[in-house]
């Protein structure tokens, strides 16, 4: 892509957006809100710097903000690289805007408390609005003409900064089984591979949540009998910890049609627990309940990713194994009670190319589901 617009004059800030959505210089419009929030932060911070530099003044000059407006002067090739300029350079001579820019970039880059202490705490919450629409694998690289540095800003940066002052809201989802439902307080509890999560829900979700519990009578996870669901909503985080969860949608977990249902697979895995020691002609350990639970959590994540249903088997070591025989390859996921807990293997029929991954035990079910999804050929389109 060629440059859309060529600006004149000194570049105030360069923002390079990285991620698939920005390939070929494309720029999603929703990210305009992030830039507007950054513009406001720079100008407001500049206003505060101006008053600090001019203690005799009680107010900033008239039209302080409008004369310091920032504009996008060009979108360059490759990943969307935005060149930002001051729109009215000739109208003011102070360098407050540049100072604000440098202060903000320093805070974005900072991990150490001393830098953070020089930045007004009441502005930290503003980062909540910058990067709100970035996806997990996207980032912005900021650079200014003054300092030869590149500052990376992504969702983690945003959360780290915004959390310094107040809880930051972000899209959040949980996959698991409903453990409790309180219609009076409109609260629920969901069991996930990472533990129990409490949340609140809107009245219209009452039926869907009750249905998820009822569906578990015949199938579902082993420990509680509830069918797995995916709950999407808004999480409030502080210090990287989920503090509140407001559910917005409830979706039953299910494999794409054509194969076995999640419930029937869960039922089958549950039956493995009946195998007694020595079940394979004197060989074969009894099946670990933990392994069965773990693989059901992984399979819930894979179903959510739109992956096909596997064939499941017990293993002689007391674990559970899932096999996917696809057109060009076979993929295996084995969960054992021993370390490493997860083992994935893929073999292509024609080339005999083999990939095997011993997944460390610190990986949770969601991570394993993601790794297996990659092996199976990528996740569903979002």
């Amino acid at each position: 892509m060629t440059d859309v617009t060529e600006g004149n004059g000194e570049i105030f800030l360069r923002a390079v957006f990285h991620g698939d959505r920005f390939d070929g210089g494309r720029f999603p419009l929703e990210l305009g809100a992030d830039l507007a929030a950054l513009n406001r932060l720079i100008v407001d911070f500049a206003r505060e710097i101006y008053l600090q530099q001019n203690p005799q003044r009680k107010r900033v000059p008239k039209h302080f903000a409008t004369t310091r407006a920032l504009t996008i002067s060009a979108i360059q090739s490759g990943s969307a690289a935005l060149l930002v300029q001051r729109s009215n350079n000739e109208l003011f001579e102070d360098d407050t805007l540049e100072s604000a820019r440098e202060g903000i970039l320093s805070v974005m880059a900072a991990a150490d408390p001393p830098v953070m202490q020089t930045f007004p705490a009441h502005f930290l919450g503003r980062f909540n609005s910058i990067g709100r629409y970035l996806l997990p694998n996207e980032r912005i690289e900021f650079s200014s003409p003054k300092e030869a540095r590149v500052v990376t800003y992504d969702r983690q940066t945003r959360r780290r900064l915004a959390e310094q002052t107040e809880g930051v809201e972000d899209a959040f989802f949980a996959i698991g089984s409903i453990q409790a439902l309180n219609a009076t307080t409109k609260s629920f509890q969901i069991r996930t591979p990472d533990g129990l999560i409490d949340g609140r829900y809107k009245p219209e979700l009452d039926t869907a949540l009750r249905r998820a519990i009822a569906a578990g009578v015949d199938s579902g996870l082993l420990s509680d009998g509830a069918a797995p669901v995916r709950i999407d909503g808004t999480g409030t985080f502080k210090a990287n910890q989920l503090k509140a969860f407001e559910a917005e949608t409830v979706t039953p977990i299910e494999f794409p049609t054509g194969g076995q249902t999640y419930g029937s697979i869960a039922h089958e895995i549950r039956s493995f627990l009946d195998l007694e020691e020595g079940w394979l002609d004197g060989d074969g350990n009894s099946i670990s309940k933990n392994a069965a639970e773990e693989i059901l959590h992984v399979l819930a994540g894979l179903a959510d990713e739109g992956q096909p249903a596997p064939t499941v088997w017990p293993t002689t070591e007391g674990g559970v194994r899932a096999e996917w025989r696809l057109q060009d390859s076979e993929t295996v996921l084995e969960v054992s009670s021993a370390v490493p807990k997860f083992y994935a293997f893929q073999r292509f029929y024609v080339s005999s190319e083999v990939t095997d991954i011993e997944l460390n035990d610190h990986l949770n079910a969601a991570d394993v589901a993601q790794r297996v999804t990659e092996l199976l050929g990528g996740g569903k389109e979002t």
Binding site: W279, L280, D283, W313, P314, R321, E330, R347, D356
Partner: protein, 130 residues
């Protein structure tokens, strides 16, 4: 001859493998685990030789010592093509017994070999069932 066992050389000879019912599904799917030696096998995958037995006889003989739902098989040549050797290993109780040597293989190698043996046997079809 290796370790006192005669290496099988008739590449057309079929080696019968008993399938535990746990390794099959109602739609005929067979897990590759049917071709993975267990710990007690010590890397030696038990089979029976078609030159000394039939699929039915091997199946019936196996019922005395274990459980099987069906018999599938691969040839000595197919085993050899995978870089494996097969050896005659007769006993008084099991005169047709032989084994495919899968010792000293990594987990990944075992997975790949078991999958390919299962594929070959599945293509050949069930040779005998209960």
């Amino acid at each position: 001859v290796t370790n006192g066992h005669l290496s099988l050389s008739d590449f057309d000879e079929v080696l019968f493998r008993q399938v535990n019912p746990t390794w099959t599904k109602s739609d005929g799917t067979i897990s590759s685990q049917a071709f993975k030696p267990t710990k007690k096998d010590n890397g030696k995958l038990s089979v029976d030789r078609s030159s000394k037995s039939t699929a039915q006889a091997a199946f019936e003989h196996h019922q005395a010592v274990g459980v099987s739902c069906c018999v599938i098989g691969v040839t000595v040549g197919e085993v050899s093509d995978l870089g494996l050797a097969s050896f005659d290993d007769p006993t008084i109780e099991k005169p047709a017994h032989a084994y495919i040597d899968m010792s000293n293989k990594t987990r990944s190698e075992l997975e790949g070999l078991a999958g390919r043996l299962r594929d070959l046997a599945t293509q050949r079809g069930v040779l005998h069932s209960a």
